[in-house]
Symmetry: C2
Subunit: 315 residues, 2 copies
């Protein structure tokens, strides 16, 4: 299942509106097929893995990070049917698919065909790997990551707005990698007007990734453009064609999303410097200190050059 | 030498104006004497170790964290003379003593008596262990540690001043332990007027420690009291009877010391919370972002409950 989850990461944020699924087929202790949802959402992971395995799928165990779909579409048959036809004898599934067209029907079809089915192995990791898809299904909006590059004293910029550079090259390269894991990147209107940021992925091999650029603005622009796209409220992100949204600044925009409780993950790049009197996070509507606690859980931390990355998720 | 340095930590901030020295005597592979500067500064570490060793010092090696003193005083003879008289044959010394009454004369006296002398083993660790004494000798002021208990967004308090509690019990206990490592603790007048903080050491076994309380105030109070003592400028700390000064708040006082370049060490307790619009570090006189870099070097970090401690020293 760990291998299937790793495969699923290959197309994170590239399968919208489909989930990024991973699949590994194992027979007699050897991997006979590997698949992951392809960019654009098709073929599905199971179809790709079965295609690789061919006749070797007979008698195999399929490890799949999400319940195989039960619905055929013009773009391909239902994965549950493909698995039954392949002759696999066992399926290990991390999570059920909340899509109402599947939602248990995929597992039922496997069981009806005499396939042994286990569900729940690696469920937590699968929830994290498919957080975008699952957040869209559960809350009708993208999974939102807020990126902050801060000094030790919490400044995202000097008082006059200068922020180049707080963090070093290793942290900035990592931030570009994070861009590639999102379909859309949002900045506030102030940042947009001041910097006209490219918000692209400037890493070798990933130059082709061009996340949708979104600008948060209190006013509504005359025309809705494709790039950048404008949204007048944090809640407006629900209509974006994206399951993963990265918020890059500035501090007022960050606060607006926190105030609206629309942040699922914090990506904190911390430089070992003091700024003093800089631009820090404005009011987020906190009434008492006690309310601030137990909201964020440290999910990852690492050193990036002289900077420190800390990743927090909703607690 | 590591053992001698560990012994020297026992009386950090309790030997003013003397250095906190550690000494270990080793003969035939066995420790025959251990000593550390006693509270108040006497007896010295070497005298204590020699007292324990007695006749077993003959032929031993002395590991000392600082050059043995060459000056007798009404409170005791010179340690260099004691070591010579003891019959030790070798001395390993971490650092020379910058005190002009010794400053090489202690080592010379050992060598003149035929004792083999090595200097420099563990010098960096010794500089850290005796930072208070050495800073006083080099700069004529205490070694200054600035403590900050901050949220992820750098707030030391909510906008209205509430700061109980940002960090959890483990971090607060550690902060009390740090108080015991300082002869004096300073707060700003605002903090003093608002909280009248006790600034004592509320840890089992350390209740007797009562660091000198110091208040920074722009105006000069009518009379200089013993407790709290008042200082009108950060530079005024030079006259305190202390080689280790801990600055505990508020944000304005922290900024005043940073602006005056009078902070040697940062003690950052970071809670995994966001406050937003809180009290953050005000202007510290930074002209350009580039000037902020390479000033602080991470010396230690550890988890304290749900909080993170990071210790930075001048880079």
């Amino acid at each position: 299942m760990a291998a299937a989850l790793a495969l699923s990461e290959r197309t994170r944020a590239r399968t919208f509106p489909n989930p990024n699924v991973g699949c590994v087929l194992v027979r007699d202790g050897a991997v006979v097929g590997r698949g992951w949802t392809q960019p654009g959402g098709r073929p599905h992971a199971e179809a790709m893995a079965l295609d690789e395995a061919g006749a070797r799928a007979r008698g195999a165990t399929a490890y799949v990070t999400l319940e195989p779909c039960a619905h055929a579409s013009p773009r391909g048959p239902a994965c549950a049917d493909l698995l039954v036809a392949s002759g696999i004898t066992r399926a290990v599934v991390a999570l059920g698919d909340p899509d109402p067209r599947t939602d248990g029907a995929g597992l039922a079809r496997l069981r009806a065909a005499g396939i042994a089915v286990e569900v729940g192995i690696g469920a937590d990791a699968a929830r994290r790997a498919m957080a975008g898809f699952l957040t869209r299904r559960a809350l009708g909006r993208p999974y939102v990551t807020l990126k902050l590059a801060l000094s030790l004293d919490g400044a995202a910029a000097m008082a006059d707005g200068r922020s180049q550079w707080i963090t070093g090259p290793e942290a900035r390269a990592h931030a570009h990698l994070e861009r590639a894991r999102h379909e859309a990147i949002l900045v506030g209107r102030g940042t947009w007007e001041a910097d006209r940021p490219r918000l692209d992925v400037r890493l070798a091999g990933l130059e082709g990734r061009a996340p949708l650029r979104v600008v948060l603005s209190a006013g509504t622009p005359a025309a809705q453009e494709r790039d950048p796209r404008w949204t007048s409220t944090p809640a407006g992100i629900a209509s974006l064609p994206a399951d993963h949204l990265l918020i890059e600044g500035g501090a007022g925009t960050a606060a607006a999303f926190l105030r609206a409780d629309l942040v699922d993950r914090l990506l904190l790049y911390r430089a070992p410097i003091l700024i003093g009197g800089g631009r820090t996070l404005p009011d987020i509507g906190l009434a008492a200190l006690g309310d601030a606690h137990a909201r964020w859980r440290l999910a990852d931390s690492r050193q990036l050059g002289s900077d420190r990355l800390e990743v927090y998720e909703r607690g």
